[in-house]
Assembly symmetry: C2
Homo-oligomer: 234 residues x 2
Amino acid sequence: MLYLIPTPLAPDAAASSVVPIIAELVKNTPYFFVEELRTARRFISSLKTGVVIDELVFWELNKDSDPQKVLKQIKFLKTNGHSAIVLSEAGCPGIADPGAVAVKFAHQVGLPVNALPGPNSMVLTLMGSGFNGQAFTFNGYLPVGNPGRVAKLKELEKELYRTNTTQLFMETPYRNMQLFESMMQALAPETLVCVGANLTAPDQILITKPVKEWKKDLPKLHKIPAIFAIGLFN
Amino acid sequence: MLYLIPTPLAPDAAASSVVPIIAELVKNTPYFFVEELRTARRFISSLKTGVVIDELVFWELNKDSDPQKVLKQIKFLKTNGHSAIVLSEAGCPGIADPGAVAVKFAHQVGLPVNALPGPNSMVLTLMGSGFNGQAFTFNGYLPVGNPGRVAKLKELEKELYRTNTTQLFMETPYRNMQLFESMMQALAPETLVCVGANLTAPDQILITKPVKEWKKDLPKLHKIPAIFAIGLFN
């Protein structure tokens, strides 16, 4: 079995992020695909399961991983009837995070896949937005810099008003303010923007208001993980 | 505060579905917006917090709710400094489920909103699919009946190959097989289909394979909650 296990988005957020069965799975699974070794060790040790971390096998799985090596590891699990856990640095493996390549090979060689519930910043933002949750698109990263970014934002806004499909997108945290300023420039004053930032942390932001209200008091998002959404109140 | 709390997708799945802080919140919050009274009572009692269910206040919130009544309830919470919890029948409030109307009013009157992590069948399917998780669209329900359904499926497939945006969609469970048969008819033999059905239950299906492989052995999905995705292995 290949278990896909979400990890907390914020420090000390285990109580709001980790379902009980995860400690049990970690206790009984010796192989781990991990995006980042240090974070993975810290997460496993935070579960206080009593496992000896130095006895576990860690395989790094990130954008630099050689797919052929991952395929060999998946085949090893399948052949020997072993299970492994996939951990990304924060949030859900495979969703705007590495992990999908291991899942692909698992399906191809017939190793069963199981995904566990947990924190996902897109879902938390969508739930908390009040926007249409019957139809939504996560657009990932928008073009960096203008005029590309403003043009893309205008395109998403047009699509929103045409189809009432909630549009979600993000940026690397240290460029959040540039993106937010482009949103203020590109979007109509009445367009509703939801910001989901530092989610599950005590100082999280999860607020929807029109562009013209955001403009009065820009949120401080520099280097803070954030998801942005535009949508309609139905 | 308006807390949006996901509920388990399958019976007896609390250990894989409910983060620990939820019991604490339920214990300390007397007001509940609920999609269905019976399921909400059962969920609350399953948490074994010791709260007396008959002392809680339940406000039904579903597609038949009068928005003006919901607005009054939200204003009551805001004015009196009270918190409430929103519970849908299964999964995340506000995502292909009622709840968004309460969230909308909360933002409008300035009642803070907090969304808790938990099971979401779209996210579980996307994680388990191996498809692109950097760009995806949840299309909700497709047109019922043909030629509309087949045409929409062909349109989604075209969009997938054009943009590598994973396309997710669903159907009411008793029409799953009609949808699945339309997929087998509309989609190219090599197109990859992921089925996420009965997720978090012991007999869940979470499998990706090409249409031509699914055709050899159609999954039994009649009346089983399911999410479908088409996507690419990158």
